[in-house]
Symmetry: C2
Subunit: 427 residues, 2 copies
């Protein structure tokens, strides 16, 4: 089915057939959900040993009783583990509670009102306008945090190598009110892109272009979340920053949310000692210290990078068939059409689908009408505004393979029906 080569008669014929198929699917009374970037129960089961793993051993290697107050920046063993995960030094890690989003929001809010260094460096000082670059499509919670704090978002394009760095550099050079950029550098949400070496190098240079108060928010949420052994590695941002003298220009975030228990993991921020000193100072007003016992559990469970890597392979074994179910449906049903394109990621949690322009909203509504819930149209763009109305984020980890197969049958039918209708209307 190639719409660009079809006659109006063919289009009408296809529309009739597809409308019938859609009606048949509607009658099946499905209730399926492809919206959620959540691990499945099978994946969560992999970490069940966490509870009870301590066997009454509540001290760290220095003998500190981790049950008590204190330790604002985390326990040494966890710093070492997480430093290895994102390629920094242990002393460049500060550990938080169960949510990296909380650390991102905290860092953003601190930068806005207290400053990235001293009070003079506060982005929103004297009511100044603050802008952030948002590579699109991206993660809605990043955008929402900015919107909630009054930060204006400027979309920049993503390609297969990461953000369009020409555009990024131009914008940053032209507008001093741009104070940061959101990045999900490995298996980007939702495209699955891994930033290329050139892109990472150019990001490390942004601190020199943009001035001392600019910060890259490097949300390395999928740092170790590979689907296969050959998945592309992410170049080391902090190493490139050291070469450029821009260590202070980046905040690196990560967590075990999609490694152990999504809601009961451990989150961290990595950054230069200067940055951590500032953040720690302000954090001290909001907390006496994070849950160090849960940190200790994670160290006991994930141990080291080899153990962590084996653990992630077990995740991959559960996730790959789910990704395959989405991809094989897209390939077989839309592969030789001109009705859409999609990413085939080697890690992360999402597949990003682009319909023909102007159809995402329609496809999502059709799918909802047939009992399949998809991420709302525009969710991957600031202010919910996808200018081409084409991007749809598919999240295949949470449902079972057979649920995904049923959901994808609906999805491809909706894509085809919406596409044919649009072509007919234009013919």
């Amino acid at each position: 089915m190639r719409l660009n080569q079809a006659t109006p008669e063919q289009l009408r014929e296809w529309e009739t057939t597809l409308a019938e198929q859609y009606q048949a699917i509607q009658q099946a009374g499905l209730s399926l959900d492809l919206t959620r970037g959540k691990p499945s129960s099978d994946q969560l089961d992999l970490s069940n040993a966490l509870d009870g793993i301590l066997h009454g051993q509540y001290t760290d290697s220095s003998g500190t009783d981790l049950r008590n107050y204190g330790g604002l920046d985390g326990i040494p063993e966890a710093k070492t583990l997480f430093a290895g995960m994102v390629g920094v030094k242990p002393e460049e890690v500060m550990i938080g509670g169960n949510s990296s989003l909380t650390l991102m929001y905290f860092s953003l809010q601190t930068a806005m009102h207290q400053g990235v260094s001293d009070a003079d460096s506060a982005w929103a000082k004297d009511g100044q306008t603050v802008k952030f670059l948002a590579p699109v499509p991206g993660y809605d919670r990043h955008f929402a945090a900015c919107e909630h704090l009054g930060v204006e978002l400027i979309p920049v394009a993503m390609d297969d190598n990461g953000p369009d760095m020409d555009q990024v550099e131009q914008l940053v050079q032209a507008d001093a009110s741009i104070k940061g950029i959101w990045c999900v550098p490995r298996f980007s949400n939702p495209t699955g892109v891994v930033y290329s070496d050139e892109v990472v190098q150019r990001i490390a240079k942004l601190g020199n272009i943009a001035g001392p108060n600019f910060r890259v928010f490097w949300d390395n949420a999928y740092a170790v979340h590979v689907l296969n052994d050959n998945a592309p590695e992410l170049p080391n941002l902090m190493d490139y920053c050291r070469q450029q003298g821009t260590e202070d220009s980046v905040y690196i975030f990560g967590s075990t949310s999609k490694i152990t228990f999504a809601g009961a993991g451990v989150a961290f921020i990595a950054g230069s000692p200067a940055n951590l000193t500032v953040l720690k100072k302000h954090l001290g007003f909001t907390s006496i210290g994070p849950d160090k016992i849960n940190q200790l559990r994670h160290v006991a469970f994930l141990k080291d990078s080899a153990t962590l890597s084996e653990h992630m392979n077990r995740h991959a074994a559960i996730m790959q068939p789910r990704f395959d179910a989405v991809l094989s449906s897209l390939r077989s049903e839309l592969g030789d059409t001109d009705m859409g394109s999609w990413t085939e990621p080697e890690g992360g949690y999402f597949i990003s689908f682009d319909s023909r322009p102007g159809l995402a909203r329609e496809i999502i509504a059709l799918a909802a009408g047939a009992g399949v819930k998809l991420t709302p149209a525009g969710a991957t763009f600031p202010y919910g505004n996808d200018p081409d109305d084409k991007n749809i984020r598919l999240a295949p980890t949470y449902p079972t393979v057979s649920e995904i197969e049923k959901a994808m049958e609906v999805f491809v039918t909706c894509v085809k029906l919406a596409s044919v209708k649009q072509a007919l209307a234009a013919s």
Copy 2:
């Protein structure tokens, strides 16, 4: 030893003796610490069963998998448990991470910038001055949170019934920029006072005096932390608020920090459904949900109010000898002098000592010189400023009884020496 009746000769004699005693103590090379409101290891041991208590059972009563994301306001079972602890309805409870300070800071910050209801209710809107009442002596972290967020603190006096409510009402009526008051209503930090029925009733009426955006920050940190079975109960604030129609005027805070593991417990905020709706809306930008597994552990461990009460009795059995060690030293060494007064609390974590005016700093410095660390002078007052320089907070829970005995020997010697010196200088 009554300084007011002593002759200069007696004073000189006493000074010589005390100076010798102080020198002898100095030579003992002590290193003791009475600064920390932290549970002892023995107390922490009471909750060692927490890790491993779930035995692979990770769902709540409704079947929700608590390992996964979500549940921003906490699990139902934990809401019920904590509602009972502070005397509200389960639907009036929202559960956070491990720190009630984090929830207090969050509530304060939200009220400042996003508002207690809509954006128009933001305290700091258009750069308005925001003031808070601080009953003194009080908790330094409350004051620090306000200072960090630019809230001006106005000290009000505490007596044996709680804050001086005449003063509180006058201030609130006279100055609309006063937006809240800090309260530690049961076993107040540091005085150990339990607010009287009349005080709690008058606090429930403040919402009607002060206007709709005023909030009582009711830090019920020691809600169940009794030292004996006859400890005075705290009247129920929320019940009085219901009578007054002021349910929206209070935020109630609590945690299990001093019930289970100080650093790995569960914190919560209780409030009217209207208040919780607003807080939850803003919280949703900073978190996908708290650690629900740790909530489940706490429910499995603390079960219900009867089990909780038994558990707190076990704490009391550990803490009472430590409080006794402080009190018996104060009674026997200072009881028939005019050199100070102190509280004899029936719960909480502190004993509050008032020296003769102008001596707290001196006594603390003398103790430090003899190897005994005390909470810094002024710490219990906003801006570290104790106008009478007399209040000293003693925290007897963390050291052992024999350490406390040694520390108190130093303390009373320092009190006497400083007092006699002052009297001599004035004679």
